[in-house]
């Protein structure tokens, strides 16, 4: 990837992170940790990888995205706003009573949201359904989904993994946001779902492991997924929960709470420093 493109992606991802913090701070609740961890992958998907048109969000032949880890809606909303699906200002209405930006994604209300999710394990199955439908209807769109590493403790994730391999859904890419933390602590302490690579491989998937904050690796992984025929691809993205905000990094207490004003200022100052470093 050339330097200019790399720099632009880093700037966009940082802007998405600002959006996440604005949303969660104004809501005074929500899930910043896992939103910040997946911001780079979402930025790449919406700005480089996916065939979409923000002016025509229901375009029949668009690529689809399902945020299976629906609680990280702030990241999806911030990415969609950044990409022009709706105004950035609206991010401040996150979780508020009359806002369409529900705590978990609602496909009926928000342009660009392809599936309602939030209850863990359900989204990856819906993504399988979309990918299967493309095969049945001879469509060439691709389907992307992001599953949390903690979410993979849900049995349905593995029902879906079986299904995708059985029906050779090579138009499906699942990213596992492997930040290593869930609400009650480290995933390996709470209920160890590892090793994801060997498990997905055993289920019949093509497995790629990357650093989920390195755009060169992200780009290479999605490019490789396009070359895989006859099986679905999983990208296991090693990430840092809370990435970009100093005190949130690798801290599971920031899974599901918003910063108050003092810490909000620290977050803004952290992201501003990153922004300045990218000039």
């Amino acid at each position: 990837m050339d330097n200019e493109r790399l720099l632009r992606l880093k700037q966009l991802a940082n802007s998405v992170r600002f959006g996440i913090i604005e949303g969660v701070y104004n809501a005074a609740c929500g899930h910043p940790g896992g939103s910040l961890s997946i911001a780079d992958v979402l930025t790449y998907l919406y700005f480089e990888e996916m065939r979409i048109d923000p002016k025509n969000p229901k375009w029949e032949d668009r690529d689809r995205f399902v945020l299976s880890k629906g609680h990280t809606a702030p990241a999806l909303y911030a990415t969609l706003a950044e990409r022009g699906f709706f105004d950035r200002e609206e991010l401040k209405t996150l979780r508020k009573t009359h806002s369409r930006l529900q705590g978990h994604p609602d496909m009926k209300g928000v342009p660009g949201v392809d599936m309602s999710t939030g209850s863990l394990g359900l989204g990856i199955s819906a993504a399988c359904g979309m990918a299967l439908s493309a095969k049945v209807n001879a469509k060439d769109y691709r389907v992307y989904t992001v599953v949390g590493d903690g979410e993979s403790e849900e049995g349905q994730v593995w029902e879906a993994a079986m299904f995708a391999a059985h029906y050779k859904l090579d138009n499906l890419v699942c990213v596992v946001d492997w930040n290593g933390l869930q609400i009650d602590g480290a995933i390996t302490d709470v209920m160890n779902p590892t090793p994801h690579d060997k498990k997905f491989e055993a289920f019949g998937w093509h497995v790629i492991s990357i650093d989920g904050h390195d755009f060169n690796e992200i780009a290479a992984a999605f490019a490789e997924a396009r070359t895989v025929k006859g099986k679905p691809t999983v990208i296991i993205a090693r990430t840092v929960k809370g990435k970009g905000v100093s005190y949130m990094e690798n801290a599971c207490e920031w899974h599901g709470q918003a910063p108050k004003e003092d810490l909000y200022r620290v977050a803004i100052s952290d992201l501003t420093a990153i922004e300045e470093s990218l000039r």
Binding site: M115, S119, S125, V136, N137, Q156
Partner: protein, 315 residues
């Protein structure tokens, strides 16, 4: 005497026949031989997808397919469709109001020998609490076929309840040119003394009960409520007003199903006695179906008894 056929047979036959003129896909969870979706599979293998023994995944997969504009039927036993996969039906299908038709077979006590774990008496109750869900329980083979076609012409999530056990095809006997309309009850006969409101397997027993009562000089009406949600409140309130007493009959728990829906409507719109025939807050058990129906009181005789009691409660 009307021909006997299970509504699940008619479901499978309808899918296979209507597959010619309608574009849809069918999912099943390793029960195609029992749910009868196998009839569709045989004819349209490229539009049939077995999901294996993973009902939760199947419901969310169905939702994903529906988001792309393709109509989909997802089939398994009622126990697993409404029970095990309740949350997937609610959150993946119901909340986004997707065009998924849930074809649930082997509902109620008439499952027979498989016993309690497979006899779902709670599915109507569960499904009707989901906002926007349409709940249909056909009485016989002709109505089941018509319900499947109506489902194909209807946009939105729908739960269709079918039975394992053969039931007389009253509709073809009594109504030559049957016009099935979602949400519109069917009046078999009007009655001045009491009205029996029945659904599914119990409809033909309601007619038998009305005959028993007629011999005693009691004028009992019979209404087939094939759509439990949205309920034909207008028809039920008119019957409550005309006959002054209601008995409900369903092959389902008396809690949360047709009986509850009717009692809610009558209580709010035209308070008269409402007595319920159904499974009385119990699990099923293994056995031959006719014996089980006796044990659980799902009989014409019991409906007639309740009708006499309802009349006695009139003011």
């Amino acid at each position: 005497m009307a021909d006997k056929k299970a509504t699940r047979e008619s479901y499978g036959a309808a899918l296979a026949a209507l597959g010619e003129s309608y574009d849809f896909v069918v999912l099943d969870a390793d029960l195609a031989a029992a749910t009868k979706t196998g009839m569709f599979k045989k004819k349209f293998p490229e539009r049939f997808f077995d999901c294996g023994i993973a009902e939760g995944n199947m419901m969310s997969v169905a939702a994903g397919i529906a988001t792309t504009g393709t109509t989909v039927f997802a089939s398994t036993f009622a126990m697993f469709a409404a029970g095990r996969a309740f949350e997937q039906v609610r959150n993946s299908i119901g909340y986004p109001h997707l065009n998924v038709k849930i074809g649930a077979t082997h509902a109620g006590i008439t499952v027979g020998e498989d016993g309690a774990t497979h006899q779902c008496n709670e599915d109507i109750a569960l499904m009707r609490t989901i906002p926007g869900m349409t709940v249909v329980c056909p009485a016989d083979a002709t109505e089941a076929y018509a319900a499947v076609e109506a489902a194909l012409n209807f946009e939105g999530p729908m739960y269709l309840r079918f039975g394992r056990f053969a039931v007389p095809d009253l509709t073809s006997d009594l109504i030559p040119e049957y016009n099935f309309e979602i949400g519109r009850g069917v009046t078999y006969r009007k009655g001045n003394d009491v009205t029996i409101v029945a659904t599914g397997y119990m409809v033909h027993l309601a007619v038998e009960a009305a005959d028993i009562l007629k011999a005693e000089g009691i004028d009992a009406g019979v209404i087939n409520i094939h759509t439990i949600k949205p309920l034909d409140t207008e028809l039920i309130l008119a019957a409550a007003k005309e006959s002054g007493a209601i008995v409900t009959a369903e092959e389902h728990s008396v809690i949360g199903g047709l009986g509850s829906a009717v009692a809610e409507a009558v209580g709010e719109g035209c308070p008269v006695p409402v007595l319920r025939v159904g499974v009385n807050d119990m699990y099923g058990r293994s056995g031959r179906v006719p014996e089980l129906l006796e044990i659980y009181g799902l009989t014409a005789q019991n409906i007639a008894d309740k009708a006499r009691k309802a009349i006695a409660l009139k003011k």
